[in-house]
Subunit: 343 residues, 2 copies
Amino acid sequence: MSKVLIVHAHPEPKSLTSALKDHATTTLRAHKHEVQVSDLYASAWNAVASRADFLQPVQPDRLLYATESGFAFAGRSQSADIEGEQEKLLWADAVILSFPMWWFSMPAILKGWIDRVFALGFAYGVGEHEGERWGDRYGEGTLTGRRAMLTVTMGGHESHYGPRGVNGAIDDILWPIQHGVLFYPGMEVLPPFLIYQSHGLTEADWPEVASRYERRLEGLFTDRPIPFRTQNSGHYDAQQALKPRLGGGGGSRGPAALCGRRREFPVRTGKYREVSRLSGRRGGRRDRNPTASPGFRREFPGAPNREHFRGIRERNDIAAVEQGITEGLHQVCRPSVVAVRRQ
Amino acid sequence: MSKVLIVHAHPEPKSLTSALKDHATTTLRAHKHEVQVSDLYASAWNAVASRADFLQPVQPDRLLYATESGFAFAGRSQSADIEGEQEKLLWADAVILSFPMWWFSMPAILKGWIDRVFALGFAYGVGEHEGERWGDRYGEGTLTGRRAMLTVTMGGHESHYGPRGVNGAIDDILWPIQHGVLFYPGMEVLPPFLIYQSHGLTEADWPEVASRYERRLEGLFTDRPIPFRTQNSGHYDAQQALKPRLGGGGGSRGPAALCGRRREFPVRTGKYREVSRLSGRRGGRRDRNPTASPGFRREFPGAPNREHFRGIRERNDIAAVEQGITEGLHQVCRPSVVAVRRQ
């Protein structure tokens, strides 16, 4: 059985977000997991990083916050609340950040939890720099081996957060958190659990929401993480830029050429031939399946493979085929090099 | 002369970020502008949105923060610190948010300023919903007519934030703030003033940094804003999704087809023919300049036009040509529908 930390940020215990936190706790414990909850409002968490975070400042006359946080972490002279949260993170096998979306990000109290707990030497500045290696980050670091997931309630409609929605795509909006905060210190990030139009939900909607959340919680240790590209797998050069033949800049051949077409496969109409082949309508060229090419397999050995698709075909599960391809391509294309196009 | 509000969030008055704030104040006043500074650390700003923000709560037994903020704003029963900041925003002709990048976003104290000051009825929920119109937001709203700019110091290297950098492109990282926080309530957003590798700067570097900032401050009311697509200009449907022929989903003809190629024009080599024509090397087809097409002009009457380019050509300013095209296309392509490709 595993250990789960829920970091929760909502000012109202009777809110939907707080109900989800309680439901997660109950569900996970029913599955024999241990659960700790950092309820930031309930514990009056101090959101504001300041010199008071360091019990024995090295430079008391001029605060260099990052530097001091490194000394204090190494010297065990951090404020007790910071150290307590770091210990919970080290204890956990999985971390859930549970919050309402406020202004396209997390509430300040949770941002302040990140700002203060993710100290130099703990969550960043870990490992050595040398050539292409820029320390242990983006897939490696102190929190390696742990899983992370965002649980986010939003007032807005799903279509406003779609690939062509007015707010921008939800994946792009969450990129600074999912990639920059969670993947950075080494955690594997699961797709987020999202509730749109939260204000419109009634008691009658709760069973469906709760059961949808249960399914995600049950997959916390088995669902496939977002396949972000790791830093130290040889994909980035010494300037920490993606190497020429990878990602979106590789011209018209190889996996690179696929970026910008993630959403374009008209799977359901059978026009995308490899998928149509998988779904029983033959006639396509084999090399039209981007994730099946030898170059793709070399670059992304962990991506969904032919066996994966075969199993799905046997279940006749077209949605899973679509997701497998999306995930495979996601691994190739970071948001900034993906043109998500959906008609 | 105009009025400028600087909202500043750094815990150390001797920091580079604080020096930039002081320099902005001095420079703007030297240009006869009025300046107010909200120094959030110095004033011990309360970062945490809570029920204490509402003097006469309508639902004291269950906090619906957004709803209460709307009642309190309308009934002038907001906490005095919130009302004070709203008055400064209404006073200002331009707003500068000045902060160090912490975990790919703003420090919690500044996020808490947004969370609390941007009340319902003030910064969102403004205007009527009807069909394609979703209230006054994204280019319209309470703060229309004001300009906004981020001044951000970062420890990381510029290449890590480049289009192919490991952190993701800086434009994408700032999207939730620039588009979601500043453009949302109606402000025009200028390109950010960015300092990379701030920890590596010495006293000797200050004059160059200061003078670079001065140039941006001098352009605060004249520089071209980021041409984000406005919500109520007819580009979004009733689901608030970009209409089919716009943006990244339009097939191979029209402005839509340009998305994903923003960085691809090899301007300096003359291969992009319209630009080569502008720079004196003729031979290209006129319709290869995407921003010159009638369709583009109809869709974006405010984009840089032929006259704009002619003036630039006379000055032989290729960088400005490149920028004009980039800006023209930026208006077509939101981050999530742009594949930025740079070799």
